[in-house]
């Protein structure tokens, strides 16, 4: 009989390793191993997806202000950061956002702030991002004006609206006055009311194409334009440019603007060498033909000066009937 002796327990059958190599397994055994691996992979995938989903939900709640501000360690907004491709500055941004002085970064309604920025019309798109702990970063993409538009009921000294290529009119801010003063007036189109949201002007893309082509290819002609009449754009497909000299130049919206501008330049050059008569009307919308209306040179009136640009948007009065010549220019 044994009395208080201690030997380690002998090895048991449980100490025998049970694993076998795959080649020692049957086909069903190998299939089971693969199935188990698939199950493990699927389980890992489910866990991963669940984790990713939880993370996404948390991120979404944070971005929508659904979580308490303390969750992100947010502080009151100390700095506004602006990135833009235009002329707007931080002062405009601060005025437009009008943030409360102690507004916490997490408490801000980013969608509401973005709507405020876009309401001005000058900003085409806006992105607002919280940068912890206290910076609100705004990234803007601005519209560029191509013409001016008189606001309804505006007087001569009132600021004009600016019209962008996409037809949106807005109160321009931060532009060089010389640049805005050189833009032609847009007539024949009603401006939105003071309380209404600016509605895009139809056909403005075509007008902007003519203006940009003229500005790029025929600078003197562009600079001579005082106003652009688009009243017949939709019905007749014609754009009428009125120069500061009272010349009426009609362009066909369906024709190539480059060719029309080239014809106009040729005619103006040809007319410059003919004293005694001035051209009052040129119609370039007739395809291969150009209609030119001539008028005798008016006698100079003492004390008369060239009229200032009308800010009322009313185009100058139409010239009196004059002889009409038909040119054939290819």
């Amino acid at each position: 009989m044994k009395e208080a002796t201690t030997n380690p327990l002998a090895r048991s059958w449980r100490d025998i390793p049970q694993n076998v190599k795959p080649r020692a397994m049957s086909r069903e055994g190998r299939r089971r191993v693969k199935l188990r691996a698939l199950r493990i992979a699927a389980a890992a995938g489910v866990i991963g997806l669940a984790g990713w989903g939880a993370w996404e939900v948390t991120a979404a709640l944070r971005s929508q202000g659904g979580l308490p501000g303390a969750a992100g360690g947010a502080a009151p907004v100390r700095e506004l950061s602006l990135s833009t491709d235009g002329v707007l500055d931080k002062a405009w941004l601060a005025r437009t956002l009008a943030l409360p002085p102690d507004a916490s970064l997490m408490d801000l309604d980013l969608e509401g702030l973005r709507a405020r920025l876009l309401a001005s019309g000058q900003a085409r798109s806006a992105a607002i991002v919280r940068k912890f702990p206290s910076t609100l970063a705004v990234s803007l993409s601005e519209r560029s004006p191509v013409a001016r538009l008189a606001a309804p009921g505006a007087g001569p000294g009132d600021p004009a609206l600016l019209v962008a290529r996409d037809g949106v009119s807005y109160q321009g801010t931060g532009y060089d006055p010389a640049m805005t003063g050189s833009l032609p007036w847009l007539v024949g189109e009603s401006a939105p009311g003071p309380g209404g949201r600016p509605a895009p002007i139809p056909g403005m893309g075509t007008v902007a194409e003519l203006l940009s082509r003229a500005q790029l290819e025929a600078g003197p002609i562009y600079r001579s334009w005082k106003s652009i009449d688009v009243s017949r754009l939709e019905t007749d497909g014609e754009i009428v440019a009125l120069t500061r000299d009272g010349l009426r130049e009609t362009f066909g919206a369906q024709e190539d603007f480059y060719r029309q501008l080239a014809k106009l330049d040729l005619l103006l050059d040809a007319a410059a060498g003919k004293p005694g008569e001035v051209i009052r009307d040129i119609n370039l919308s007739l395809g291969g033909q150009v209609s030119v209306a001539l008028a005798p040179v008016p006698a100079p009136v003492p004390g008369a000066a060239p009229g200032p640009a009308s800010v009322s948007g009313n185009p100058p009065s139409a010239p009196s009937p004059a002889p009409v010549l038909q040119f054939h220019i290819n």
Binding site: M1, K2, E3, L9, W13, P17, Q18, V20, R36
Partner: protein
């Protein structure tokens, strides 16, 4: 795998056939929901000698059982037999530490560890420690001695050990199907648990599981296994003897054994002859029935004599009032119980499963597999009492990873 059910496979890789039962265990109840059977190959006397052949037939039986059950087996209880299994008895005693001589858990653990700490030869591993009842100051304690008062605590273990490589071969056959062996149960304990009642085990009973290649025996005393053993003798020896004696092929001898073999000679007329096939085909021959019975009974008698000798002093008719219970395929030999009764000097009968076992599972060929499930579950629960499974999704995920 269902979260509340465990599907356990009971696999017995025998010399003549592989039996598989699928049990659905709910923690409280066990239901047999599938079974599979396949003729064995690559196994001789309970030992795998051809891994590929043994794997093929075992996996076929497991697949069949899974198809029958409609469920996948989670893990396996494997029956173990073979002549390499041996046993020895080792006991230890310890003085009770407490001043008031009340036995506590530390005393029990100490004496149990002492009794189990016996070194084994190289290459041998313990298959099972079978504890015999405790004794407190020489007084038998059938259950736990905790909180009893005494000065000396004694316990003994019948330790069954086997050759590591042969055990590994059996387990690798199961693992080749990507199933884990959770319990390795001696075939004798499995079948003995199934064909005896607790009362019989308490009073003392000897169970003989006579298979095709081996004979497993277990002697119960005081409600616990007292001695176990395995003989590399079985029904195939009877067949071989018939084949040699009558100059027959193995299959012809097997046919004669099943039809006319007996454990005790019964035919008095030495001139009575029986046909090999009985269909008057070419090659059909006649053999003396008396000779067949003499050959089979002589070998069967010898087999039981060997068991008696192996048991030695552990067995005596006085300590085994429950008698001898025979099970296994060879035990179906007519006169087997009568023969056992004569040799052991006590009543003997064929083992029967409890009445609640389904009729189609009462064949002695399923006794071991049935016992595997019931004995294995008890043993598994005793080994891991705190192994309560986690429920729910996280539990499933945990089991998925832990099982790999």
């Amino acid at each position: 795998m269902s979260s509340s059910h465990t599907f356990i496979g009971a696999v017995e890789i025998g010399t003549s056939k592989v039996s598989v039962l699928v049990g659905q265990h709910t923690g409280r109840e066990l239901a047999i929901i599938g079974r599979g059977e396949c003729p064995a190959s690559g196994v001789i006397k309970g030992t795998v000698v051809d891994y590929k052949a043994a794997s093929d037939c075992t996996h076929a039986a497991v697949e069949q059982a899974e198809r029958d059950a409609g469920e996948r087996i989670d893990f396996v209880f494997l029956a173990q037999t073979g002549s390499h299994l041996e046993g020895f008895y080792n006991e230890a005693s310890a003085s009770v530490k407490a001043a008031d001589n009340m036995i506590d858990r530390d005393d029990i653990r100490t004496v149990c560890e002492l009794a189990m700490s016996k070194e084994l030869p190289a290459g041998r591993v313990v298959v099972r420690h079978l504890r015999r009842p405790f004794r407190v100051d020489g007084r038998l304690v059938p259950t736990s001695p905790e909180n009893l008062v005494g000065q000396r605590l004694e316990v003994g273990y019948w330790t069954v050990h086997g050759q590591e490589q042969r055990l590994a071969d059996n387990m690798h056959v199961i693992r080749g199907f990507n199933l884990e062996v959770r319990e390795l149960v001696l075939s004798s304990l499995a079948s003995g648990h199934m064909v005896t009642t607790p009362e019989e085990r308490q009073h003392g009973v000897l169970v003989l599981d006579i298979g095709a290649g081996t004979t497993d025996y277990v002697l119960y005393r005081d409600g616990a296994p007292h001695t176990t053993g395995v003989l590399a003798i079985g029904g195939t020896h009877l067949t071989n003897d018939l084949g040699v004696g009558l100059r027959l092929t193995h299959s012809q001898a097997e046919k004669l054994k099943l039809r006319f073999g007996r454990a005790l000679p019964h035919t008095r007329d030495k001139a009575e002859k029986v046909w090999l096939d009985g269909n008057y085909s070419i090659g059909d021959r006649q053999f003396p029935r008396h000779t067949i019975e003499q050959v089979t009974s002589a070998r069967f008698w010898e087999l039981l004599e060997v068991v008696r000798r192996k048991l030695g002093n552990a067995f005596s008719p006085e300590t085994c009032p429950g008698g001898v219970v025979l099970t296994g395929g060879t035990a179906k030999l007519p006169g087997a119980a009568e023969c056992a009764g004569k040799i052991f000097g006590i009543p003997a009968h064929l083992g029967e499963t409890p009445a609640w076992i389904a009729q189609d599972l009462r064949d002695p060929g399923y006794h071991t597999a049935l016992g595997l499930l019931y004995y294995g579950i008890n043993s598994h629960a005793e080994r891991a009492p705190s192994g309560r499974r986690r429920a729910g999704f996280l539990g499933s995920i945990g089991r998925l990873f832990s099982s790999t």
